[in-house]
């Protein structure tokens, strides 16, 4: 194996997860609407190696998968690799998904979790330096598993919101700003922020009630 090491970018840096206090304006995928294909439809198409379907599915799930990987691996670089492996596994095994056996979201969660656990095993035990700010020593494994599932569901559901709704929800919950401050930050009337927050929360409730994981 010959390497031109001068050109080779070796990425070994260990970084702690950087949580987003203010939402980015970018969206990794187009906003969904009622005409969008279901996850099950997309999986069927991915099973036939349909690249477009894979990209849509990726847009819907990359954030939940990355979030899950960060929770379990506590290392950003490893988590990025685990995400790639999870989607490689989805690409490879989508044709084995059977809708009659359960919701597509549950199947995707299982495949992603397995890929992440495989990555965890290959990495070996985490060093002290990698140990987590995200997992408290007081939470037992079942609670941690529940947290992971809740994060998966909520982060997936957030992808269903209009960008303007998601923006105010993320600012309201994770920026530390009051509604008035959010309004000032976005340059919007307070009433508009309240309306968007409430409609976003209502839509989240709909999505979270309707899905089975």
């Amino acid at each position: 194996m010959r390497k031109n090491s001068g050109d080779m970018e070796i990425a070994l840096e260990v970084q702690q997860p950087r949580l987003r206090a203010v939402p980015a304006t970018e969206t990794a995928r187009p906003q969904l609407d009622a005409s969008d294909p279901s996850d099950a439809d997309l999986l069927a198409r991915v099973g036939e190696h349909d690249r477009e379907a894979f990209e849509i599915l990726y847009g819907r799930y990359v954030r939940p998968v990355f979030s899950l990987a960060l929770r379990k691996l506590h290392d950003r670089g490893h988590a990025e690799d685990a995400v790639q492996e999870a989607f490689a596994a989805i690409w490879r095994s989508a044709s084995t998904y059977r809708p009659e056996r359960g919701a597509a979201g549950g199947w995707l969660y299982t495949v992603a979790r397995n890929a992440i656990v495989d990555r965890l095993r290959r990495n070996g035990p985490a060093t002290d330096a990698e140990l987590p700010e995200l997992v408290s020593g007081e939470r037992d494994p079942s609670q941690q598993a529940e947290d992971s599932e809740v994060s998966w569901r909520v982060h997936r559901a957030l992808e269903e919101l209009q960008p303007r709704e998601r923006e105010v929800i993320e600012l309201a919950y994770w920026s530390g700003m009051s509604q008035s401050e959010v309004a000032g930050y976005l340059g919007l009337p307070l009433g508009t922020v309240k309306t968007r927050t409430r409609s976003g929360l209502a839509k989240l409730a709909d999505v979270l009630e309707g899905e089975l994981l």
């Binding site: 031109n4 949580l19 979030s67 995400v83 569901r153 309201a172 009630e209």
Partner: protein
């Protein structure tokens, strides 16, 4: 991150008790879930794993033919200029960051290949695999290229179909990972049991 928004401030007082309960459930889940992480640049775009559907492969094939024609045109112009000027330097030709020779294992001893890994773009390492001696697999089966780390297949870099035992084939693949010193690659084919990765059919030639 410890700030928890005031539910009443968010929702106001106009909602019915039933609606408030429903929204409160979503509120509680949001608080429990915490914020989604910001995606790094390497995850902004879906990775490519090599085999597309038939329709898309036709599109890709057409594009590839157009690109090939363009590349040939450029090559003709380049070599014409080269001939007129009586020679030149190849210093600007791109160099792979990794170049690897592979040989067939006992499963396919006649197979051989070269693998070139090019400079990464947005966390993706494009790779060119030129191979000869890989037969077509039954049932439209495909070979897979794995990144090998610490002696074990570690990450899928793409898949492709064999062109026949005596036909040369060049495919473009991608390693969407952070590469480490000592990384290598192998080509595998599926096993009857369907386990992943399959049996290694091409492995690096020892230095």
């Amino acid at each position: 991150m410890t700030h928890e928004p005031n539910f009443d401030e968010l929702i106001g007082t106009e909602a019915t008790s039933e609606e408030r309960e429903r929204l409160h459930h979503a509120h509680d889940l949001l608080v429990q879930a915490g914020p989604p992480p910001e995606l790094p640049p390497s995850l902004q775009k879906a990775p490519s794993f090599g085999v597309f559907s038939l329709h898309q492969r036709r599109v890709v094939k057409r594009r590839a033919l157009v690109l090939l024609a363009a590349a040939l045109s450029v090559a003709v112009v380049f070599f014409a200029g080269y001939a007129v000027r009586g020679g030149g330097s190849s210093a600007k030709a791109p160099h792979p960051v990794v170049a690897l020779s592979l040989k067939g294992t006992s499963a396919l001893p006649q197979a051989q290949a070269t693998l070139q890994v090019w400079k990464a773009r947005d966390g993706n390492w494009p790779m060119t695999l030129s191979v000869v001696g890989l037969p077509k697999l039954a049932n439209h089966g495909y070979y897979e290229v794995y990144l090998v780390r610490n002696g074990h297949p570690w990450g899928l870099c793409g898949s492709f179909r064999g062109a026949g035992s005596s036909t040369a084939l060049t495919v473009t693949l991608n390693a969407p990972y952070s590469l480490h010193k000592g990384d290598s690659w192998v080509v595998t084919r599926p096993t009857a049991s369907g386990s992943e990765p399959g049996r290694t059919v091409l492995s690096p030639v020892s230095a």
